[in-house]
Amino acid sequence: MRLQISSRLAIFAALELAAREGSQLSVAEIGEKYGVSSHHLAKVMHVMGRAGLVRSVRGAGGGYQFSGNPRRTTLLDIAQLFEELSSVESDAAHDATPEDAALRQVLNEIDDIARATLGSITIATMRKLVDRRANGREPVKPGPRKSLRT
């Protein structure tokens, strides 16, 4: 499964901000770490702000703070702000054949599991996973390095 760039950016931003409770980070600081443009990140932060997950702090040294509950905000809560993650509804009009219907059933099972997984990981749990990897307690599986630059 892949998440859209905006969803990934929003999750990364939430992780950065939640790790700094009571202080704030600018869009430029977050963007620099993940190699993304401030322009795109600002749009992402705006959406998160409307959802009540971050709040902007104005003035010198201003930026964003995480305003959600890290122990209750899940990756699904964030990703759903940017993309549709629901299963395809049963619709006889789209299931022209029994093969269509059977394939939709299987694909929906995959979607359900993916959604359940994203909905079970909070920002606080993700921070623990990140810290375990950073501390070398979890092997990092090699994979193709993808740029988030937009």
Binding site: R72, G119, A124
Partner: protein
């Protein structure tokens, strides 16, 4: 964290003791489960106590978290039950947690953490290095809790079928 909340957390953490269940705890276990699930099942819990609170205690663990400083104040804040199972579904021996509950007004006070850590220690002492559980996908709180304890998806997929 606000001072009041910090004080409450520190007090709760200090006051929570995890120990093996006793017969006198079962009415409180039944009461807690009834409040949480809205289903009273006294016969089930009495049977669970007979099987997991009295027999094969080297591999079966029915633990309760108790709060309160004085004898009069003491009450069950939560419980966890598990056992070492071997060779089911081809698995080598591992610890299975099949019940966990915490008083709703005591959640986020580390009662669940204390229970989870205690049963983890018991499983380790029993010689297993892996523990498992099963949670309904839409059962949000237990799912978030077990995930926060570091549990990840395992190598099994649960399958089922409606019997016609």
């Amino acid at each position: 964290m606000p001072t009041a909340a910090k004080t409450r957390t520190a007090k709760s953490e200090a006051a929570v003791r995890v120990r093996r269940v006793q017969a006198a705890d079962i009415p409180q276990v039944i009461g807690l489960d009834t409040r949480v699930t809205k289903l009273a099942k006294a016969a089930y819990w009495n049977d669970i106590f007979r099987r997991y609170g009295r027999r094969r205690l080297n591999e079966r663990f029915f633990l309760v978290a108790e709060g309160g400083e004085t004898r009069a104040e003491r009450r069950v804040l939560g419980f966890i039950i598990g056992e070492v199972r071997a060779w089911e579904f081809g698995s080598t021996p591992c610890g299975w947690v099949f019940a966990l509950s915490v008083e709703p007004d005591e959640r986020l006070q580390n009662v669940g953490d204390a229970l989870f850590e205690a049963i983890s220690r018991e499983f380790k002492k029993a010689g297993v290095s892996k523990m498992r559980t099963m949670v309904a996908r839409d059962d949000r709180l237990p799912m978030l809790f077990f995930r926060s304890e570091g549990m990840m998806a395992g190598p099994y997929i649960q399958l089922e079928k409606d019997l016609e």
